[in-house]
């Protein structure tokens, strides 16, 4: 029975990684930028959710929606201010800028409200029920279903809407998309908005599930989500979902076997192995680089 419990633990953790990884992968897919500030958007989303619940007395779902909307806007602002003018710069310049933005957000938040952690209020009852000998809390069910709904929604946006079509086109070939009359700037902004909204949602979910939030909380989940995105094949949306879940389950299994101190190392060992043996990830197609 222990294993069912561990599997549930792993999937809950993995779905949070997956939500963050989606933002990484979408942005990479469209402008080939590893947006290292993404983990901090996640943190900001978590704090917006926290203040919506504690200061404005909102419930979980309104807080989730406010946080997603605010993060979408925040993501667009970051893109417009920091990344837009670097669109034709070298990739390393954009990458360094992303790290700079990340630090700016982290320490900006510390400057505004201090570095002390905050405890998320209980928005759901702590009730749990036994299922095949495992304790499943109502929280983890809700969290899992919110993640799944958001992922389905994302698939719908990408495949069934005009914006999604434009995103896919820009991702495929920016120049050609521009020639076809697609507003590339707006499409990139839309990508940032959607990715950041997902990070915001992950932030609120993280807060509810793990209780403690602080201004540097985005660093490790951000890096883990990046590993998840690479694992699934960076730039590929289903890859990020699967990569996140796999990573969550692997980390939990490593702990469950009694190697909890190696848990973080396991994530990075996976990253190294993937980069050596299958650089394009689980879902990636091996495309030869054109010279």
């Amino acid at each position: 029975m222990e294993w069912i419990q561990q599997l549930i633990n792993g999937i809950s953790l993995g779905s949070i990684y997956a939500l963050i990884a989606l933002g990484y992968t979408m942005v990479y897919g469209i402008i080939k930028l590893i947006n290292f500030a993404h983990g901090d958007v996640f943190m900001v989303g978590s704090f917006i959710g926290f203040y919506s619940i504690t200061v404005f007395g909102l419930g979980f779902f309104p807080a989730l929606i406010i946080s997603m909307a605010a993060c979408a806007l925040f993501g667009v602002i970051i893109e417009r201010i920091a990344y837009k003018r670097l669109r034709n710069a070298t990739r390393i310049a954009a990458l360094i800028t992303a790290i700079g933005v990340s630090l700016l957000i982290e320490y900006g938040v510390i400057y505004i409200r201090g570095a002390q952690p905050e405890a998320y209020p209980d928005v759901f009852s702590n009730r749990s029920f036994a299922f095949l000998g495992a304790q499943i809390s109502i929280q983890s069910i809700l969290i899992l279903s919110v993640s799944v709904v958001l992922m389905i929604l994302l698939q719908f946006i990408v495949h069934k809407t005009k914006t999604g079509k434009a995103m896919r086109a820009v991702s495929h070939d920016t120049e050609a998309a521009k020639l076809m009359g697609i507003n590339v700037d707006n499409t990139i902004s839309a990508t940032f908005a959607i990715g950041s909204a997902l990070a915001g949602a992950a932030g609120v979910i993280f807060g509810v599930y793990y209780t403690k939030i602080d201004p540097l909380m985005g660093v490790i989940p951000g890096v883990k989500a990046f590993v998840a995105a690479v694992l699934g094949g960076i730039g590929i949306i289903p890859g990020a979902m699967v990569g996140g879940l796999v990573l969550g389950v692997v980390e939990t299994v490593v702990s469950a076997l009694g190697f909890s101190l190696w848990r973080d190392a396991a994530a990075f060992v996976i990253l190294i192995l993937i980069l050596i043996f299958r650089p394009s990830g689980i879902f990636g197609k091996n495309t030869r680089e054109k010279v």
């Binding site: 419990q5 633990n9 953790l13 952690p117 793990y210 403690k212 702990s255 469950a256 009694g258 909890s260």
Partner: protein, 395 residues
Amino acid sequence: MKKSKFASLFLSISLLIGILAGCGSDGEEGTSTESKGGDTIKIGANLELSGGVASYGTSEADAIDLAIEEINAAGGINGKQIELIKVDNKSDAAEATNAAIKLTSQDKVVAIIGAATSGNSVAQVQIATDTKTPMISPSGTSTTVTVGEDGKVNPFTFRTAFIDPFQGTVAANFAANELKVKTAAVYADNASDYAKGLAAAFIKDFEAAGGKIVAEESYVAKDTDFRSNLTRIKSANPEFVFIPGYYEEVGLIVKQARELGITVPLMGADGWDSPTLVDLAGADALNNTFIITAYSSEDPDGKAKEFSDNFEKKYGKVPNSFNALGYDTVYLLKDAIERADSTDGTKIKEALEATDQLELVTGLYSVDENHHPIKSAIIIEFVDGSQQFKAKVNP
């Protein structure tokens, strides 16, 4: 060669100035030169009155004032009044050393109380040893305060608070004798010496008491997901879980443990003691959890009750454990000076070493060969988010 000559000249001049300055201030103060044989006993307090941990130092200073007031009102020590000289070490180790030099060379105190933190206490050990001035740290809990790096005891250094690993012993005794559990799990922060020391002491003493450790897990500070470790602990089915660590992680551990259906008693040490713990874990999850502290204002014992009342009368607030430890340090010193019947440093030191079952606010106090106290500890139980006095465990 030239350089070193210059350096030695410079050093000797500055030494000379130091000696002269010492003489100067002695001369100025006139009567105090004879204080060692005179009608007052001078005690120095080297405390963190400002800086990062000023709240520790000022808490202790308040209580020291109260204790000295009481002693002087009752006729002093062996008929002599106590004169307290307080020096602010600004929560800084270098300042703590300077303060100790000032107290021993200028003020010629009989003994030093302080500092509140281990680091600032260690900073004055050398001065205490060189000048043969006993010093007592009220709340320095690191073993390095009284035992040097080389494993040798610092002869003139004592402490009032128990050392960290001692809390592991208390927890083991409490689990085995009061809760009467046979199996226990340990879940410790692998990144902190504090938690590792506590865990080791707990395991040793719990097994010595006939208990069995069924699971040993570790985490690393800053982790947020403890569910997989806790699931392992749950499947080992312990009757008791010992979680030495700090409140930031412990709050989450307690919450997640209860969610996973671990309903057995959980216990920690003073690292849990923060209002944030209740926010993180939630009041419900904290029921049936215990912590160890040096002092509780709810202790119904006569001495503790009296202190709490007197303190509240003077300062209008409920005393905390730093207050209690500061207060006890004065009485510990008073007892030693009385028994030594002298203000000679070496004699006081010998008397301190012989302290046996002295009744203080924080319980019965004895000293072991490492100058670590063997003393009572208080077990606090969380009931609906508030701390309640549960038991006093005597050594």
